[in-house]
């Protein structure tokens, strides 16, 4: 059936009755069977493009960066000396290629410039926030796995039954719902109206919690953002787990297992479930990268959670260019790096792709 040269599209198992391969759901990634080195080469080019884009865009825009910066405060008028000093400070007084070179060497040293608003190194500001973003992503991912994978296994196992149909209908319907709508409603109810959860930071400021009470404090702040983000994750993990499970249903090894007298439960989780897990591993990784690129900004924005996404949003609001560029770079490179890791893991995990 498959012809040479036409392998770029995702493979759809004939049994998959909604046609939902991991790669299909998430925009045709990463079922391209290409060599590891092409993947890595693509990654290097992409990162380089992102860095260049990050450097070039503010400079390509009409007008002068210093003017744009000063547009913040209408009362500030620059004299030529100050302007010259500022240009020197931001390294804008040398030719573009040299600016680019020093930008690259600065990046190499981990130097992302100085935030205009806080007047502190962007690298330091971001360093404080990366941890909270990772905590948010990891806990959301864990919650989603605990819900999505068992539901998917069960639903696939009971394919066509009432449970399966209602679960499938629900998740198909909510798969594209924008998270910020639910997020806004949750924010208004649980924080603004009922005041059930703290808001605006990751820990209670000036508190003196230690040990367990400190952990509890962090969880209280984390709960709503993490649950919302996991809602975004769960849908695809369920859909892909279910579809992979359906693909295993008619397998000979299940028949063999039944003949041996293994319990249904054992067959369901230990046999079919384990075999169907591979595409889900990919989805978990891809969800992670999608969330860095979108969910993090939106959810941290709504709940003022002190991560990188919220930081970028804030920097955009205050026109703090160095901060914005730094956060942009961390987020986008985070996304493509996660994609790379997923691709490479896929090569390792799937014996059919492994070379």
């Amino acid at each position: 059936m498959r012809r040479q040269g036409a392998v770029a599209d995702p493979v759809i198992t004939p049994e998959a009755d909604v046609g939902l391969e991991a790669s299909q759901v998430l925009g045709a990634r990463p079922s391209r069977r290409q060599s590891k080195w092409v993947t890595i080469g693509s990654y290097v080019v992409t990162v380089f493009l992102l860095i260049t884009f990050n450097f070039a865009l503010p400079r390509l825009m009409p007008g002068d960066p210093i003017d744009a910066m000063m547009a913040l405060s209408a009362t500030t008028v620059l004299n030529d000396d100050t302007r010259g000093a500022l240009e020197q400070y931001y390294n804008l007084d040398v030719p573009l290629p040299r600016q680019y070179l020093s930008y690259l060497t600065g990046l190499g040293r981990g130097d992302l410039g100085v935030s205009i608003v806080s007047n502190r190194p962007v690298t330091e500001e971001l360093g404080k926030r990366v941890g909270w973003s990772l905590l948010l992503l990891l806990s959301a991912s864990a919650i989603a796995m605990l819900i999505g994978i068992p539901l998917g296994i069960h639903s696939g196992w009971k394919r066509g039954k009432g449970v399966d149909r209602s679960l499938l209908g629900f998740f198909l319907a909510v798969q594209n719902l924008p998270i910020f709508i639910l997020g806004s409603v949750v924010f208004i109810l649980f924080i603004a109206k009922w005041d059930l959860f703290p808001y605006g930071s990751a820990t209670t400021p000036l508190s003196d919690y230690h040990g367990l009470s400190e952990v509890a404090d962090i969880i209280r702040h984390l709960a709503l953002p993490a649950l919302l983000m996991s809602f975004d994750f769960v849908t695809y993990e369920y859909l892909v787990m279910r579809s992979a499970m359906v693909g295993e249903l008619g397998s000979d090894y299940l028949l063999g297992g039944r003949a041996k007298g293994l319990s249904e439960r054992h067959l369901k989780y230990r046999y079919a479930g384990r075999n169907a897990l591979l595409p889900v591993v990919t989805v978990i990784g891809l969800q992670f990268s999608l969330a860095i690129g979108a969910g993090l900004i939106i959810i941290e924005g709504i709940f003022s959670y002190p991560g990188v996404g919220g930081y970028m949003l804030g920097a955009v609001g205050t026109r703090d260019y160095p901060a914005m560029q730094g956060a942009f770079l961390v987020l986008t490179v985070g996304v493509v790096t996660t994609n790379l890791v997923v691709d490479l893991l896929y090569h390792r995990l799937d014996p059919r792709v492994a070379t």
């Binding site: 012809r3 040269g5 036409a6 770029a8 599209d9 759809i12 004939p14 909604v18 046609g19 925009g27 045709a28 990634r29 391209r32 693509s42 990654y43 080019v45 992409t46 493009l49 992102l50 990050n54 865009l57 503010p58 825009m61 198909l172 319907a173 798969q175 594209n176 719902l177 924008p178 910020f180 709508i181 806004s184 409603v185 924010f187 208004i188 603004a192 109206k193 990268s289 999608l290 860095i292 690129g293 979108a294 900004i297 939106i298 924005g301 709504i302 970028m312 949003l313 955009v316 609001g317 026109r319 914005m324 942009f328 987020l331 986008t332 996304v335 493509v336 994609n339």
Partner: protein
């Protein structure tokens, strides 16, 4: 058995309640958008004088922080969303078709280079890029649409390419070429008619993505500041200090969230329902 596209669509509508529901939702949203000036009782930007009014006969959903009629803003907002859905999707269709057909028909080095570019675009995170550009450039609806189009076409291009490849290998393209048909003839007479349903189903999804992206962008405060947009209004409601009092959120935030949800759900339902109908592999395995 080859029936006409319209006939197949009608019978599909009768068979699938999911498709019917989706089509009705999208139709409702489209007609409100088109008829906005006749449906909306007030100018969506006019200040009625009193902010945060409760719903009344005069103002069906009350007024917002600027004293504007919320119901009229809801109605006019659908027009903005409709513009994004139509224009961004058209842009994506044009770029996706051009790149996909070129790659699929030319093959070789052209194909490899174009597909590498597609790969790179697919790996780029759209929202941060849009944020970055929107922060630096003059914000306008046209910019949002342009950016959404420029960053969402790769998937369409890939589908078009892979379908072109399979069609090409079936031989009738080579036959037509052998009889002296030019590339333009082959594309318009053979490729576009067979690709039609697949691209159509993909475009429904793409329209949903475009609407979601625009809503997210204006929710983040980076859409056109002058446009009346559902996403921006949700943001405005959320930022308002009054929102936690009384039932204001029910008459202000919820209608916009619901409208957006239903529009996107409509696109999703159509896309999911059309999937088996449009996917050729699938069609084969079912008959």
């Amino acid at each position: 058995m080859m029936r006409s596209g319209v006939g197949r669509l009608l019978s599909a509508l009768r068979r699938s309640p999911m498709l019917l529901a989706g089509v009705l939702m999208v139709l409702a949203f489209v007609s409100v958008g088109v008829l906005a000036p006749w449906i909306a009782p007030h100018d969506p930007r006019a200040d009625s004088g009193i902010s945060y009014q409760s719903p009344s006969r005069e103002h069906l959903l009350g007024t917002n922080d600027g004293g504007a009629d919320i119901f009229s803003r809801l109605v006019w907002g659908s027009r903005t969303t409709l513009q994004v859905a139509v224009l961004a999707t058209a842009l994506i269709l044009v770029i996706g078709l051009a790149v996909g057909l070129t790659a699929g028909l030319r093959g070789g080095l052209v194909d490899t280079v174009l597909m590498r570019i597609v790969d790179i675009f697919l790996a780029l995170p759209v929202i941060p890029l849009l944020l970055f550009v929107a922060a630096l450039a003059e914000r306008s609806l046209a910019l949002s649409i342009l950016m959404i189009g420029l960053f969402t076409w790769p998937q369409t291009a890939r589908i078009v390419r892979s379908q072109t490849l399979t069609l090409r290998s079936r031989g009738y393209v080579a036959n037509a070429r052998g009889f002296g048909a030019g590339p333009f003839y082959v594309v318009t007479r053979h490729l576009v008619p067979t690709l039609g349903p697949i691209i159509g189903a993909n475009l429904v999804f793409v329209a949903g993505v475009a609407v979601t992206t625009e809503a997210a962008l204006s929710f983040l405060g980076l859409g056109d500041p002058a446009a009346v947009s559902w996403g921006a209004e949700i943001n405005r409601a959320l930022m308002s200090r009054q929102i936690s009092f009384g039932t204001l959120w029910l008459s202000w935030l919820v209608p916009f969230g619901l409208a957006l949800t239903l529009a996107i759900l409509g696109f999703t339902l159509i896309g999911v329902a059309l999937e088996p109908w449009s996917n050729p592999r699938w069609r084969r395995s079912q008959r």
